[in-house]
Amino acid sequence: MNLKPSPLGRRDFLRTTGTLAAAGAVLGVPQFLSSRVLGAPGVKGANERIVVGHIGVGGMGGGHLQYMYAEQNRGNVSIAAVCDVDSQRLAKALDTAGKDAKAYKDYRHVLERKDIDAVVIATPDHWHAVQTVHAAECGKHVYVEKPACCTIEEGKAMVAAGQKNRVAIQVGSQGRSQPEAHKAHAYIANGMLGKIHKVTCWHYESPADSQPVPDGNPPPELDWDLWLGPLPWRPYNPRYCHGTFRWLMESGGGQIRDRGAHVMSNALYFMNADHTGPVSIEAKGTVPTKGLWDSAVTMEVTYEFKNPDWTLIWAQPGRKIPYFDDDKRKREGIRDGYGAVYQGDKDSLIVWVGDGQVYTEPKALNFKVPAGGVEVYRSPGHHEDWFQGIRTGKKTIMNIQAGAATAFLTVLGNLSLLLGRKLEWDPVKQEIVGDAQAHRLMSRPQRYPYCL
């Protein structure tokens, strides 16, 4: 897919800014000139300064906000809005974002603003798809944290919304944009491993809740109903949030989703398999027997791909391979608790970590693409690649098709574990075959109005 943004013409510009100015005056909301409009003389504008809103500003969201603040100081973006269901986090974010940003609890206020070009979504996983689809329907470009979706239906809806509304969606599996990922990719793409038949990931276990606490009332700063959003209602428990949502199947899904969305994203990318999927998925593992969290503590998932034939294994903990340079590991804080081995018929290659850190072996680092060899895309940085996608319509490195394909691996791995059986998957239709119950679980009805 090649996105073709539809910049506004001068007449549209005048009409839009006139309307915005009037609306802003009435509402008392600072209004920004969208990047789609022409820049004023002496002002970095037209198609350069992107107006962004941040939805979810704790955890990774806080990191994105700080990054955008630096970009704002460089004149590349304007932060127009911050949004969170936790008023304490929101107040902190407003301090970071600067005086021109407006704070909201309900993300739909952000989407209503015509002056906002793009949103950064860093909410818990169960919100990713709904907010991405809604943002796309409102014409916003989207950077959404990984994993892209919680169900197959959600992923398909995200892809469809991106295509229909012609917006750039970047999923936050930023490993692909790291310099050493580029090196590993080039090494593999140039056939240095021969035909790759197996990729084996390792990652340390998910935690179990060793000190469970009973349900209770949510803290006053938290809008619990809005935190739950699409999920079925249930009483608040401190183990749901913040951050710990990822140890619950319905809102997170454990390490396979949190870090699998990085490590397996790189695997699909290096294997040129973003557009494909496995034909079978089989998981085994252990789950907690105490506390609120229900994601697998240990698990091993085997994915079989066809045409070409290869096997992807997610092993938690699997067989950890320590980073080869211990001094560098300590010096740079390399988190070698996860990574993957690419096994070909000529050689193998280790890629450590996989997210904001990616490290690989010297043979790949020292590799020079020979004349006539395969040059692979070198990302300017994950956010920068997204900006490029917004401005030019070029497909982003972790576009929503790739994001959904990666998330599907994690969803299907968990589903196989929950159901206790092997699943057959049609990678073309992107659906489970021969298992009515599993087929039903490809989607999860959502609470109204927090639905796709």
């Binding site: 206020h109 809604h134 809005l226 027997t289 009515a436 009805p445």
Partner: protein, 205 residues
């Protein structure tokens, strides 16, 4: 669904339930299973959880009772075991087992158990339920606490009966729930003239 149809439907459920209980009936084994699930010992609990699927429909009533326990960890243990059981019963080629479990889930839903326990039972039913469960689920559309879950379950259960129930409920619904039902119908492929989802409308500050 009218009253007669509902009574008839529940009669079938009761008969089926009796047969299964009689066939299943090792009370001592069930009691030990439940005690093990509640055990403070991690290994004992894990072993009991692994046996959940093997017990099948016969332990659903005891687990449903435990799901309504005042003790948080007991409720969680019951939930884990019930889901394990439901997911095993839903495997391909085990249709009669799935229907037996469905019967027990429906009976458990037709009780005065706490709303949160019935909410979980509703979602379990959504995974394997068929026509048998629909009248009971539909009756919960009248519950202020459970109607949204019941709507979601009816949306998920495939087939004409669930669709017809959603249509009937939509026609009869008050304004404060009509759009929810319309959303389900749209998801099921029904066109509703004039319906506009409020999903993009902010409701909070």
């Amino acid at each position: 669904m009218n009253k007669n149809q509902l009574s008839e439907s529940l009669g079938v459920i009761a008969l089926a339930g009796t047969a299964i209980t009689a066939a299943g009936g090792d009370e001592a084994a069930t009691a030990k299973f439940i005690a093990d699930l509640k055990s403070a010992d991690d290994k004992t609990r894990a072993e009991a959880l692994d046996k959940s699927a093997r017990f099948g429909a016969s332990v659903v009533p005891a687990l449903a009772d435990l799901l309504g326990s005042a003790e948080t960890e007991h409720r969680r243990a019951a939930q884990r075991a019930l889901y394990r059981l439901v997911r095993h019963a839903g495997r391909p080629g085990a249709e009669s087992e799935a229907r037996s479990v469905e019967v027990e889930l429906v009976k458990a839903l037709n009780s005065n158990r706490p709303a949160q326990a019935r909410r979980e039972l509703l979602w379990m039913t959504s995974e394997i339920g068929k026509d048998l469960a629909i009248d009971t689920v539909a009756s919960l559309l009248g519950s202020s606490e459970l109607r949204e879950d019941a709507r979601c379950v009816l949306q998920r259960i495939p087939g004409d009966k669930s669709l017809e129930i959603l249509k009937t409920a939509y026609e009869a619904a008050r304004d404060d729930f009509k759009k929810n039902l319309a959303e389900s119908l749209v998801k099921r492929g029904v066109t509703i003239p004039g319906f506009q989802s409020e999903k993009l409308k902010p409701v909070k500050d």
